[in-house]
Symmetry: C2
DNA sequence: ATCCGCCTTGTGAATTTACACAAAGCGGAT
DNA sequence: ATCCGCTTTGTGTAAATTCACAAGGCGGAT
């Protein structure tokens, strides 16, 4: 066998075929992973294998603690930087035998890794060269698969976006299209918006999406990426909404720990069963999100549209107010006075109302003597011509103040 | 002058000409009135005249007290019933000299009256016959004038309706059209709806309109008649709104006294200067009217859109609620309890909130012991899971209850 | 009849709140 | 500096509100 024909100079029908070919040539177990250490393929007739490999194959991903270890030890970095296969010494503590790894790269991007278990140090120069060639072959295949996936993803984006914007004109149309795309739509769903504090670049997006997929046990999730937002169609069939949302919040926190990305806001619309209602759920989620922007204190601990309470009427009210701007005479007088004397009568009033008109409580919140508050209230009633024993007036003031707060 | 040619067998160029002709033949002063005793024409070269005639000519209408007297005495009735001229004896107390009157009738309708002052009893059979002929001539002329006025009225209806529905597409278009129709639009205006408790039939309509015109010193007023409503464009240039509305309320009461028609509701939109905004003012007036229908107690003493306070947001809120029906869990529990035990917890809560959460006041309004109310409140908080010391919750309940009240 | 849950009313004590008044700080105007 | 208006804080009292508890009425179920 002096004449060594390149066994990787052909078109492989699948990544598995590449793994098997490498394994056959090197007589070692082989696994191929993507850049996120998800299992893409593994050789089948492996003679012996180690615990890490078994766990990887079972979990369809390299176990978390192993990944952490490899990152900590700088091994991943080493593989990423090296143009040639890297030898890795065994790490007994995690059950990792000796192996050789090579990155599958395309320009400067890492598409994945090929791992070869090298129990018996049976790999020579020729073997390493073959491994390099294998890496190139894998690259072509991966790119091919990737573009396929991209195309399918794009179709799914388009589909979901169509649902979100209400441009799909009938229920069965939606169902048919989902079927075409191989997407199983949940019986009952909500639209959720996840907003981050930074732009969702390619890498971040991949990571976030991966976290979500993992949490959802790798069931496909319809989603669309926006500037700083990710729109997701979440399953609401089991009506354990609180638990569900709690899980998402946890997920977000985990994301923060891992990638340093903080999803600043979670907002979800109502749950519906008709797919034509995705628009509605989306609009509701947007409403919640806006509410969180404008009234952060009031909405700190809520995420779902149904938790908005009376605040859900605010947008409609504000629209009405904008259509017919009329100033609340009492409030405008108070505002004028505040401006003139730099006194916080309006804010005092606001907090007083917030505190259920309880003088003692409000005074404590303001860190002032209750008589001071009493004095201010007297000024407020005098200047504003307000009767604080009149529910109608208080409601009017409360709503008006909330709208002001929204608009400022 | 044995050959007596009929001097009324010709086409008169105006009603004045008829009056003059009669006057000339009979040698007496003559006035012609419409069915509402408004002056239509009077002879010019009258030799002598009485105080009533002078007042009529000056005021362009027979003085009120004279009309009342004539009705009371049954004289008007007599004239209306008689096919021939009626002789009326002088009534010194009101300064009415002896005169002869004949109705101008068309089928069974009375179009107006011809009055001839007959100081010297100088009218013979021939004169009475001439008077009858004059009445026929006046009929033709009046019908002619009436159809003209009708046509002009109809055009004005159409014009105003166009403004109300917003089908006029530009400001100068409106101004031009008004000019064409000889209508002077007020600099600033409001749309007002007057709703009656009965259908506005022809007669009623005439009467109401007449009352309004009288009150407006006979300046033309744009208006449209609907089933039970009259839509009016009222002048809001002088900003004495309260006095204005007060005047209208008085007017309505007067109407009630006179014709037994009760305008049940007055509702006015905001005042605007741009004529394109008539639509808005009309919509606002409708909103006020609806509010009065649905929340009569709350809106008993208000008529203008700007007086609605926070209630102006209710329609928008209700629309929102209808779009996404979600029940308030506390309230639905209370409602369920009420149904089960026929207890009025919800209404108690409603009144309690209305009374600014003042136990004493609310108990008095309910005619119950304050401890009874305390007990009920405890039940309400227990069953509904409500914290009545939380402004947010109270606002939510208050708004929800108002909406319920609207919809019921 | 008797029981039981639900509701209403009454009583009195504990607590809270409203209000009047005094004292004093602060900033601007004279 | 002095005055003045506005504001804050403290004190004490009168008024009110809240709350627990007792007593009794009412209607349905056993």
């Amino acid at each position: 066998m002096n004449v060594h024909l390149d066994p990787f100079d052909r078109d492989f029908e699948s990544i598995e075929a590449i793994a098997d070919t490498i394994s056959q040539i090197l007589q070692c177990p082989v696994t191929i992973e993507d850049s996120n250490h998800r299992l893409l393929a593994y050789s089948t007739h492996a003679p012996d294998t180690d615990p890490v490999r078994i766990a990887t194959i079972i979990g369809r991903r390299v176990p978390e603690h192993v990944i952490s270890m490899l990152w900590r030890e700088g091994i991943i970095q080493q593989i990423m930087d090296s143009q040639v296969p890297v030898l890795i010494d065994p790490i007994d503590s995690i059950g990792l035998n000796r192996r050789i790894a090579v990155a599958i790269r395309h320009h400067h991007d890492i598409l994945g890794y090929i791992w070869v278990m090298d129990e018996h140090k049976g790999i020579d120069e020729q073997g390493l060269d073959d491994l390099n060639k294998a890496s190139h072959a894998a690259r072509s295949k991966l790119l091919q698969v990737q573009t396929q996936r991209r195309r399918r993803e794009e179709q799914s984006f388009e589909f979901f976006w169509g649902m979100l914007t209400g441009s799909m004109d009938s229920e069965h149309r939606i169902v048919d299209r989902a079927h075409q795309l191989g997407i199983t739509l949940p019986k009952s769903y909500r639209v959720m918006i996840i907003e981050f504090d930074t732009l969702l670049n390619e890498k971040l997006y991949e990571q976030v999406l991966y976290t979500i997929l993992t949490a959802q046990r790798h069931r496909k999730v319809l989603h669309v990426r926006q500037e700083q937002r990710l729109l997701v169609l979440i399953d609401a069939t089991d009506d354990d909404i609180d638990g569900h949302i709690a899980a998402w919040i946890l997920l977000m926190e985990r994301m923060q720990q891992r990638f340093g990305v903080k999803p600043v806001h979670l907002a979800s619309g109502l749950s519906y069963s008709l797919y034509m209602d995705v628009v509605k759920s989306y609009q509701e989620a947007i409403t919640v999100m806006n509410m969180k922007k404008h009234l952060p204190d009031e909405t700190k601990h809520l995420h779902r549209y149904e938790e908005l309470g009376w605040y859900r009427f605010l947008p409609a009210m504000i629209q009405e107010r904008r259509a017919r701007p009329m100033q609340h005479s009492s409030l405008s007088r108070l505002k004028a006075y505040d401006k003139e004397h730099q006194s916080g009568l309006v804010s005092t009033l606001s907090l007083f109302l917030q505190a259920d008109c309880n003088v003692k409580r409000a005074a404590e919140m303001l860190h002032i003597h209750s008589n001071t508050l009493m004095y201010r209230l007297k000024r407020i009633t005098d200047i504003g011509g307000i009767d604080l024993n009149d529910m109608e007036q208080k409601i009017s003031l409360y709503l008006e103040l909330k709208m002001d707060q929204w608009q400022s």
